[in-house]
Amino acid sequence: MRDMITSLVIIIIGSATFIYSNTFSSTGQDIASDPALYPKVISVVLVLFGLILLIRTILSFKVSSIEFSIAQLKVLLLFVLLIFYLFALQYIGFIVSTVTFLFFIMLFLGSKKRLAVFSSISVTALLYVVFFVLFSIPKMSGLLF
């Protein structure tokens, strides 16, 4: 089942890139200056291997199920937290968003509250010093710090 989905996704990706490659405008006449040639060749080979994987999966009759569990949901939540952090960095600024992000992630991964408070502040301080003071990268232009 898993390999079946994988191979179908691969075939779709390969076909999509092939079709999309047609939109690249070519200036020259010969194939060496055709920007679509190389991506097209790779797309075709990719679809080919997707088909090989599909056929092999069908022939092997292996029934493997995909399990869904609470753990998967938590991983999804983790990804959502990461996206929130990205936007927080961009719009709020480094210090506030990093302390908050670290604190919640640490709790989420099973740390004790007191330890999380202490370590989220010290990790933020360390990162701040290394990147913004030592390496002097420009500060993120968030609303707060």
Partner: protein, 510 residues
């Protein structure tokens, strides 16, 4: 004889700053290597951001220090808690942990340190002798030959990495497609940019690496925790005593270490085959030649020495194709190429012509890093054992944050962070689909090289492809040989299957 290759880097190496960064890199490498769940790939990719503002020699050598340190330190957690700190320490656990249970953890770590450092040093010597020769040879490569070498590197990594060849090739092809994002190398037509101006210069390689190896590995580790709920708290029951091995041990193991190092260098030089395979092979060889093979697996110092010498000598081996051809020998060296590019350097035969001092500094720096490993391992084993007590949630959260800030710092741009997150999702999905990541990483590096060389050749052939190809083959058969090797690699699974079925039918017929 011209010794400039060995001396020109001296002035760079002998500065306090560079020595300090090599030491820092080695320490950080040992930290990442000793902690299970943090691989050498992850260590190098998340620490690249620290090197942006350094001079090239200092930055690259610091990362090489991370690479060597991480490769070595897998042995520490292998000894203390029976978990390989890096995948390549898997054979080390077989003997090092039984030794630790007998109360000889210090001895095990000492032997591992000695073998790792000696293996590393021997591999640097090989690298110094072989890389310039290969580079000189490769200087004469035409675009067709460069294309062939890149294609060969890609197919062999797909074959060697765990999982099936088909999935390895799929990973490589996806990487090649991702590498086409951005301006076309010949006509500058935007490809797959979807109107996004930030994509015009292509995917930022470092952000891709940090996503694939930093964030997605933290997430996979967290998923493991979510599943078993109670995090197995690491308890170190063994005590680490004196770690410096005796001269008797050194004399007894020297032959073993040399042999294992040769195996390691050779396997390391093959693209895709890294420390794990090298240590398995050399462990097996050691078992064959050992006078007491029955002791191996129950706490034999021979086992520790052969596994550790092999997996560390891979580092020098993997650097051979990196420096001389610009083709990475494994995922870590592929990430190192990214670090070279950040400093505006392109590894490959030309590097020996244009940046001889840097190449020389890299050789010398690797020697220094291996000496640091020896010093740190002998004196600090006790303290590195404490690393295992760092709470996982704190570590994971800190790494995630470092990934974000580090990616942002590449060009002070949030778009790179978005790319990094996208690759974290890709890395996670690939893990779930059982598709190896290493071929994709290699393809990201080799893709532009392959395409530009192919297109250059096509335009030189000017329509008359068949005849040009045949003339090229008859003038210089290197490319033909490499193409044949590639073909054999790709047919390998079929050939082995055929071989097995023939043997079965023969034995049935009897």
């Amino acid at each position: 004889m011209d010794f400039s290759l060995y001396t020109e880097g001296l002035s760079q190496i002998l500065s306090f700053q560079v020595l300090f960064f090599i030491l820092l890199g080695t320490v950080l490498g040992i930290v990442t290597g000793a902690l299970p769940g943090l691989s050498a790939m992850m260590g190098v990719s998340i620490l690249i951001p620290l090197t942006y503002s350094m001079p090239p020699a200092a930055g690259i050598l610091m990362l090489i220090g991370v690479y060597l340190g991480a490769n070595y330190a897998g042995a520490i957690s292998a000894t203390l808690v029976n978990i390989p700190g890096t995948p390549s320490a898997v054979m080390t656990t077989l003997d090092a942990y039984p030794l630790a249970k007998k109360g000889q953890a210090g001895k095990a770590i000492g032997i591992a340190t000695m073998s790792s450092a000696l293996g590393g040093l021997l591999s640097v010597i090989t690298l110094v002798l072989i890389a310039p020769l290969v580079a000189q040879f490769a200087l004469k490569f035409t675009s067709l030959e460069m294309f062939a070498v890149a294609l060969f590197g890609l197919s062999i990594i797909a074959y060697v990495t765990q999982g099936t060849l088909v999935k390895g090739l799929i990973a490589g092809l996806i990487g090649l497609l991702i590498a086409t994002i951005g301006a076309d190398p010949v006509t500058a037509t935007p490809r797959f940019t979807f109107g996004e101006i930030n994509l015009f210069s292509g995917i930022q390689f470092i952000s891709a690496m940090i996503g694939l190896y930093g964030v997605s590995e933290v997430i996979l580790n967290s998923e493991k925790y979510f599943k078993q709920k109670k995090d197995a708290i690491v308890e170190i029951k063994v005590k680490v005593e004196r770690a410096i091995p005796s001269f008797k041990d050194f004399k007894r193991l020297f032959g073993n270490i040399s042999r294992s190092s040769v195996i390691g260098v050779i396997i390391g030089a093959i693209p895709g085959a890294g420390g794990t395979i090298a240590s398995i092979v050399s462990y097996a060889v050691q078992k064959k030649v050992s006078k007491e093979p029955e002791k191996m697996g129950e706490g034999s110092v021979e086992g520790v020495a052969s596994a550790e010498a092999a997996n560390n000598s891979c580092t020098g081996g993997a650097m051979i194709p990196l420096l001389s051809l610009g083709i990475p020998g494994d995922a870590v060296t592929a990430i190192l190429i990214g670090a070279f590019m950040i400093h505006g350097l392109v590894p490959g035969p030309m590097l020996f012509e244009t940046n001889m001092d840097l190449v020389s500094a890299i050789f010398l720096g690797m020697v220094v890093a291996n000496i640091f490993i020896m010093i740190l391992g002998f004196s600090g084993a006790k303290y590195f054992a404490k690393l295992l007590l760092i709470p996982k949630p704190i570590l994971s959260a800190a790494i995630l944050s470092l990934c974000f800030i580090g990616t942002y710092a590449i060009q002070n741009n949030f778009f790179d962070v978005k790319v990094m997150l996208a690759f974290a999702v890709i890395g996670y999905a690939m893990h779930k689909a059982d598709i190896p990541k290493a071929p994709l990483v290699l393809a990201l590096i080799l893709g532009p090289l392959m395409e530009s060389n192919l297109r250059r050749w096509l335009s030189m052939a000017d329509g008359d492809y068949w005849n040009t190809l045949m003339t090229a083959f008859s003038n210089n058969p290197i490319s033909l040989i490499i193409f044949i090797l590639t073909f054999i690699t790709l047919c390998m699974p079929l050939l082995t299957k055929l071989f097995v079925s023939i043997r079965q039918s023969v034995s049935k017929g009897r």
